[in-house]
Assembly symmetry: C2
Homo-oligomer: 254 residues x 2
């Protein structure tokens, strides 16, 4: 997949030259990872249009008690108080989430303008809050870990009353892709090897935990478990490989 990326991102060039980028972004997640600037990739690439995108990772009325409890558990560790009463950055950081990677990607010859203008991130393509994927990611730089709290809505059905295996794979790809980007810069998914252990009931809240296995050259290998929020029930286990792509490839199609 990574080999074809030069062509894939050629459409970024013109926009990128308008506004020097200071962020990295996994192409399948819609999450941006701040490097030296607070501005996100989405914001930078949306400059000509000035609309502020909605951050889908913040609580809304569809979040149930378990989703809120887990959110508060991690969010409370994003900023901690020192003994002197000062506030400082904690071990975890919440990652914002948007429903577009970029508003105007040319995408080469094959994309119509209708598709370009209407395209939405797969995990954020349903307007009704609570109906599909409700999720938020937190990252821990020191421990090289990333967690995702997922509340699975009723439009994700596979087996009756339970979440589709593809919807689970989608969240795994999203979480691991974000984590790999954070660890290694721009990447593309090369392999997902998912073992399904027990089904996830629709409407339930689960935890996805990603950890670094190893880095070797262009390769970033990650592990992921999907469990109940208390960790007692294992739903899936995954190994994954992501391949780094150069920032010049990403931005200039070189």
């Amino acid at each position: 997949m990574a080999r074809s990326l030069g062509r894939l991102f050629k459409g970024f060039h013109r926009l990128a030259t308008l506004s020097p980028l200071k962020t990295l972004c996994h192409p399948q997640t819609g999450f941006s990872v701040r490097t030296t600037s607070e501005r996100t990739l989405v914001q930078a690439l949306s400059l000509p249009f000035f609309s502020k995108p909605r951050d889908f990772s913040l609580p809304n009325s569809s979040w149930g008690p378990e989703m809120m409890r887990m959110y508060e558990h991690y969010n409370s560790q994003c900023e901690v108080e020192t003994e002197g009463g000062e506030k400082q950055r904690g071990p975890w950081r919440r990652l914002p989430s948007y429903n577009r990677i970029i508003k105007y990607a040319t995408g080469g010859l094959y994309l119509s303008k209708i598709i370009q203008s209407k395209a939405r991130l797969f995990t954020r393509n349903i307007r009704d809050t609570g109906a599909a994927f409700e999720y938020v990611l937190f990252i821990n730089s020191e421990e090289k870990k990333c967690v995702c709290i997922l509340q699975a809505g009723h439009l994700l059905e596979g087996p009756p009353g339970h979440v589709h295996g593809g919807a689970i794979a989608t969240m795994i790809d999203t979480v691991l892709g974000t984590h790999a980007t954070y660890l290694s810069g721009p990447v593309m998914t090369a392999n997902l090897n998912i073992n399904y252990r027990s089904p996830i009931p629709l409407g339930s809240t689960v935890l996805l935990e990603s950890s670094l296995d190893k880095k070797e050259g262009r390769k970033t290998l990650l592990l992921c478990k999907v469990t109940s929020t208390d960790g007692s029930k294992l739903h899936t286990e995954t190994t994954a490989l992501f391949l780094s792509i150069s920032i010049s490839n990403l931005l200039l199609g070189g």
Copy 2:
């Protein structure tokens, strides 16, 4: 996943006793596979409500020329004419597709009535035709093959202008799950090992081809390639394992 299935399908029991079932159905696909009766699982389990579900595998106005061309290629081989001018069943068969597995699954203790009544199959959860997954499956009993023609809509975005890796995984699980069910009866996904080779542009039509690797006891192992419709471009390669579950487990929760 299969181990938890007894509990998962307990809700089927009462309905199943109302109408003896003659069909098998992969829980993640919404496709039913005829065995001795023409009635589908969906129809059988919807008996008390008498509404005829929409078959999503039939052409609609969003299907582009390539989707239609491929559909006609396989559909024309579903019924063939003999030398004597009689029509008879051909090597391929189109599989119908619905947006629910079952209308009233109890799902045990954890599902609210709202979730039960609103639940929709993940691959058919968007009302706008052409916006997400447009697909149709054909099966070839003799060659033990299954193909899926997929037109990927603008709401499946991952990398800008391209299909999300999770959306690809979703279709792979759907196609292989259907094929495994056809070959082995009721199954659950146990493993998906997906290698991503090149991205799929949004709006394009691709072919998913599933073939049987081997059967060993409860295990059905399948292979899947996702390619351009002319087969010249390889997008993904997958191996998958499905585990058989007994029909009594499926229907009676035994």
